[in-house]
Symmetry: C2
Subunit: 126 residues, 2 copies
DNA sequence: ATAGATGCAAAGGGTTTGCACTTGA
DNA sequence: TCAAGTGCAAACCCTTTGCATCTAT
């Protein structure tokens, strides 16, 4: 179906940046970071690389309401996110909550859930 | 600052649709519903009206990750949402969860939070 | 050699804005 | 009367796509 991913310096750079990042990154953040190492990097290349890596199961997208998606390496296990309202960065949170199902109306079926906290990160809270 | 809202048939229609809706509606849903009653209604008018009503505190926007915002009347009290993965509609959930703060890393400050459940609504679950 | 990857520029899709016309107060 | 509101079209922003060129395999 999908052809195997080919190693290129652009993709190596992107993969390494994501691997080392302790938080999920947006396409814009990735492009900015990778451009420092791979000059002339096109934004379309970042979109395509990220799309291919998500497709290949190497990355997972982190969707925050009203924000462009961020990407983080797959297989981190179930967790949620924190969006800093000042610096606009997104952080991973450890763990989850129980009793989500008690919010549910009759006959509704939950397949997944997202919990996002908004506020100030440690750096911005000063 | 912001001038008082003027009553027009377009805005009356939009306000009434939102008032009667039991679930938050997107601009597209609003435009579709209102167009049946107000012919030739421009999509820009819906965006502007919704923006003005949010500004005026009459509406609140419901942001779902990866989806366009929905709007619902303000003052419903704290609650969260359910997004149906089949019909793409969003529903209100009653109540909230405790212990959200135990997810938080040290020094982070929460100002608000969002909990969204994804799955099938009663109609789609059959 | 050759299919996949890249960069650029053009195209898309949803939202916003400029402008002349209409309308509510 | 006359500023706010409307419809249309153009502008915008972010993302995707087409295409000629480059490159990993």
């Amino acid at each position: 179906m999908s052809p195997p991913l080919r190693r290129t310096k652009q993709r190596d750079t992107l993969a390494e940046i994501l691997e080392r990042s302790e938080r999920p990154l947006s396409v814009a953040e990735l492009h900015a970071a990778a451009s420092k190492r791979t000059r002339g990097l096109g934004i379309a290349t970042v979109y395509r690389a990220v799309g291919a890596m998500v497709e290949a199961g190497e990355l997972e997208s982190v969707e925050i309401a009203g924000e462009p998606p961020r990407y983080e390496r797959a297989g981190k296990g179930h967790h949620h996110h924190f969006a800093c309202e000042r610096c606009d960065r997104v952080f991973d949170l450890a763990g989850c909550l129980e009793n989500l199902r008690k919010l549910l109306p009759p006959k509704f079926r939950v397949r997944s859930h997202a919990v996002t906290l908004y506020g100030l990160c440690a750096a911005c809270a000063g």
